[in-house]
Symmetry: C2
Subunit: 179 residues, 2 copies
Amino acid sequence: MSKVIWHITMSLDGFISGPDDSMDWAFDRDHSRIADETMNEIRAIVGGRRWYEVAQAKFDGIEGVYGGAWNGPVFVVTHNAPKVTTDPRVTFVPDGIGKALAAAKAEAKGGAVAIFGANVAQQSLALGLVDEIVVHIAPVLLGEGVRLFGGPLAKRIELERRAVDYSGETTDLIFRVKR
Amino acid sequence: MSKVIWHITMSLDGFISGPDDSMDWAFDRDHSRIADETMNEIRAIVGGRRWYEVAQAKFDGIEGVYGGAWNGPVFVVTHNAPKVTTDPRVTFVPDGIGKALAAAKAEAKGGAVAIFGANVAQQSLALGLVDEIVVHIAPVLLGEGVRLFGGPLAKRIELERRAVDYSGETTDLIFRVKR
């Protein structure tokens, strides 16, 4: 059974991107054991349309995922799929996060599925579809930007810490989502 | 020279209190080495009016500070000091956070000063008056409440991690504020 991991970097004050989708604060940080182990576990990625567009605009598209180390499948949840798909690794899924996760799990063949982007992660959490949160906490307060969590779907969710790593500049935590 | 420490417990998603000022998620957690060491360093506390009122309403006032272990001075920044002060340990400071911190430092006699409450902490950060952030990250997503950081004064602030402790249920981090 594929594990679903929300894999995210955030500022200490809980932003996953800064003003204007800036991510400069999140990069140029050292890699860590947990980051590498998580990357190696993941066999498919599910992202939101907004995540995909920001990736296209700012980070060489999915070429830039995991610093260029990713060449597996990516499922993008969107009601408005682009008419032309230029990358055979990208599948646009029009009918919601549940279907996208199911398709990603089938592709992952027992490996883990990563969720990218605040919106799909919040939907997945609300639906009880997230097994783990792997979070890299960057040593910065941003003050504004896109929040890790919140919005109309947010509800209290209890977590259980499973691992801590501080070998790099970020503080890396693995939490199990309690159900 | 007294060190100024913003000492705070937050949820993983960056809330320092939940809906209706709830703090139940932050208590009943194990104590940790960093929590104890920080408490032992602190010789005076500066809090905001809102922090003070919530403490009065919900936590036996300053009797409840540090789980009852605190019996030092508390400086409350407020433009509307109550007419009757019932606790000789509490001083109301009407003329701003700078004056309150100066009074607390004088009282701390070289020991550390803790800042409690989001509002005064944000003002202090904006004025460059915070030396360290000691944060206890509770294993919960709250989704709503009072944010750690944000609002009109928020600006990007770089931090340097100094210590990590995960002996208890919270993950405890000490950051130096870069200037």
